[in-house]
Symmetry: C2
Subunit: 135 residues, 2 copies
């Protein structure tokens, strides 16, 4: 089995923080697992764009492309703008992706959403801030 591609999609921002977040998270994922070849791409304002990275993935030997939006929740970008860039219908979750000479499945994952891991992260941020106060 070959590797899967993971396109980690960020919103993009004029400020540096969104880009940093997406790129650092892509780096953490890449270090954590060999299952995915991870590339970060931005919907607007930053580069590489989603389109740039789709083109870059066409040259890779991957068995599937998983598009993971690093967004908090659904909204117009998740429901409409990103599917458009992926050639999916609105609300579409599965399609195909053309590599050089072969077609592989394309899967569009959900944004963060409410998840026990997110609750845990909020508790961690709260504890860290309290620890900083006490130190």
């Amino acid at each position: 089995m070959g590797r899967k591609g993971m396109l980690l999609v960020g919103h993009g921002s004029k400020l540096p923080y969104n880009k940093e977040l997406i790129e650092t998270t892509a780096g953490i994922i890449a270090k954590k697992t060999d299952e995915y070849l991870v590339k970060p791409g931005f919907m607007s304002l930053n580069t590489p764009t989603v389109e740039d990275q789709l083109e870059a993935f066409r040259k890779e030997d991957i068995e599937m492309l998983v598009v993971v939006p690093l967004f908090l929740a659904k909204g117009v970008h998740i429901n409409k703008d990103i599917p458009e860039l992926l050639g999916l219908p609105e609300g579409g979750r599965h399609g195909t992706f053309q590599l050089n000479g072969k077609t592989v499945p394309l899967v569009y994952a959900s944004p963060i959403g409410s998840d026990p891991l997110l609750a845990e992260l909020m508790l961690k941020n709260a504890s860290d801030a309290i620890a900083e106060l006490k130190s």
Copy 2:
């Protein structure tokens, strides 16, 4: 020791998804721990507002107020707008909060930021989407 208050701050949105995310996450945190009395509040577009919930916390018996922004990353809201609502200087992380008849510490936590838990959540969302394709 009494409980701490946690004000979980959301951006707010015309669409229902941000409000749902913040309220559901507040519920998960409340179920998970007795350490905090959790109230969700919104910066704009939804209610209860941050100001509403600050007023509500003044009536509670808490030993500290921790304000945790459920935002992806720093930006104008995190650096400037929320501190203003909390009476903190720009970049400020610690202050005081007036309850009815006593003053307690106020702590302003960081937004999500790059964290191994966020990377784990992205991997989970990717796996879930792939599992859905195969089912």
